[in-house]
Amino acid sequence: MSQNDESQHEGFEEELGAVLRRTGDGFSADDRRELVAGGLQRGRRRLVRRRLAVTGGALALAAVGIGGVYGGSLVGPGGKATTTSVAAAPKPGNATGTADPKRPEQAQIPVKDLAAVLKAHTPAGTWEIDDLDAKGQSVGGVYDDGHGKAAVSVGLYRVGRTAESGEDQVACPDKAVVAFDRCISGRVPNGDRLMAIQGYVYPDKREETKYWRVVLLTKDGFLIDVNEYNAAAEKGAPISRENPPFTMSQLKALVTTDDWRPLLKQLPQVPATQLAPGKAAQPPAEPVGDSVQATLRTLLPKGLRVVDKGGSGEFGFLVVDDGKGKSLVQINVQSDMRDVADDLYGSGDVTTLPDGRKVKLIQQPGEKGGAGVVWWTADTMTPEGFRVVVSAFNTGAQHEAATRAEPALTLDQLKAIALDPKWQKLPRK
């Protein structure tokens, strides 16, 4: 990318921000009080439901963060009073009844043990460690070597289910999006993979707080992630020194020390349901390419002509015609939907099959404005949260008027498609 392209790119980002703000600010709620009252009412209902029975669900999902598996960045330095930490797992002993049983617990490693390794493998200086008496899997604090205070943190994680949680962590980002001065990635002599980046807290450098980070991905699936800044906090603290205190070699020495090993062993296992049988840490993600749509095609009843098709990943659609008019058939194949099972199958025409799969059949009017459109759905989910939902419409496009009285597929046919074993065998990436 040429210098010119790069500056154009940054320019576009700024302009986009301006346009988004002006567009967003142009919306005004008709009656804000009504929204507040509605929110309060929903909140009260939610509380009642929770008191009645709590079995996970969306609230728990929001309340329980990444847990023991690497699902995002680690907690910021300080680990509290930032938006970063609010989604982190609740502290032990709190939030009774909100922990989601299928999510791993936050590790119970004494922060002082983490701090000890951190201090032992960095040059001498003074440290103020946050929450030294707590337990968890990351440690943060402020380090001072006499040349200015600097926030430093280290987090230990097990690699989760996806490339996003593992390999992607040790690949250098695209310079087109993120401003950084230097990034290297590669293998260390024992075969572990490492990325070292010298970047900025704000990718647009509107504040020039430097953010240096080294991440090690071990062969046995652990991440050791160390971050440092040239300010006493990631955000909201002035720059205290020209560069963060530790050199990249020092950070590399810190992440590669064997002293982390006993602590890594204390990280909770990734729950078995998140792993594909026989494979460690490489279980299913999204279906590949147009495999959903292609498979849908193989499962159609005889006598239907496909006149249009599309979709990718979890989603696919076909427009079919049996000679009596176009009918849109849509499908979503989704993993890990257990958290919304109660919402989806808590009411309506729901049956549970002997293997535990739930099946809900729905007939409802279309919702995209096409006149006379009906929308039939078979919505299914395995006990593990694998959901296949197939819908058919009596039109070729939801916003267009009905072309026929009923969809080209019956509810029973939709159900048979949704329950087909092929969906569980789709190629995934």
């Binding site: 576009f12 980002e13 700024e14 302009e15 986009l16 921000g17 346009v19 988004l20 703000r21 967003g24 142009g26 005004s28 709620a29 929204l35 507040v36 509605g38 929110g39 309060l40 929903r42 909140g43 939610r46 609230l59 929001a62 309340a63 963060g65 699902g71 995002g72 960045s73 009073a81 930032t82 938006t83 970063t84 609010v86 989604a87 502290k91 939030a95 996003e164 992607d168 962590q169 690949a171 980002p173 087109a176 999006v177 993120v178 990631e234 955000k235 989603f315 659609f317 849109l328 849509q330 989704q334 939907m337 958290d339 919702e367 995209k368 919505d379 939902v389 496009a397 939801q398 916003h399």
Partner: protein, 169 residues
């Protein structure tokens, strides 16, 4: 006397609802009915957790995170609405400015995958860092970067040079 949970919550909600609604309008690319629904759902979730809010340093920012997660889970749940139809937004913002480009922007947003749209809204409307965006979405920062590149390229293609003229007006 200590304020009741409802009073405290109402104070918070009155101050934040307008912004939540506007964010929701961008997330839904102009579907104001859905945006109202999402704003209420977000407030409901906030209320249900209000007892624990003392531990949350910044409930306003947290509410935005809840909104985005509510939106994404809504998108996954609905399932039958993900085929991009190129529909015009329900209602364009009405502050007397040039509506054409705003409609173009909302239309361009509608062409993005929901998660990409969430990245754009968090990064450029909420002004969150890559790391914060990653946290809000429960994905890695690398994933946020990938999604940003893709979304920006797509928006740029759809909006072309007209955005510059509009932004500086």
């Amino acid at each position: 006397m200590r304020k009741s949970r409802a009073d405290e919550f109402l104070e918070f909600a009155s101050a934040r609802t307008g912004h939540l609604f506007r964010s929701a309008c961008l997330l839904t690319s102009g579907d104001t009915h859905l945006a109202e629904d999402l704003a209420q759902e977000t407030l409901g979730r906030m209320y249900a957790q209000w007892g624990r809010m003392a531990r949350i340093g910044n409930p306003a920012a947290y509410a935005q995170t809840v909104l985005v997660r509510t939106f994404l889970s809504h998108q996954r749940r609905r399932s039958a609405t993900e085929r991009p139809l190129g529909e015009l937004p329900d209602r364009a913002p009405d502050d007397g400015g040039d509506p054409a480009l705003r409609i173009a922007l909302l239309d361009a947003l509608a062409g993005l995958a929901p998660k990409d749209r969430a990245v754009v809204v968090l990064r450029y409307w909420e002004d969150r860092s890559i790391e914060e965006t990653a946290d809000a979405l429960h994905v890695s920062s690398a994933a946020v970067r990938t999604r940003s590149v893709r979304a920006l390229a797509k928006l740029r293609e759809r909006l072309g040079g007209s955005i510059a003229e509009f932004a500086t007006r």
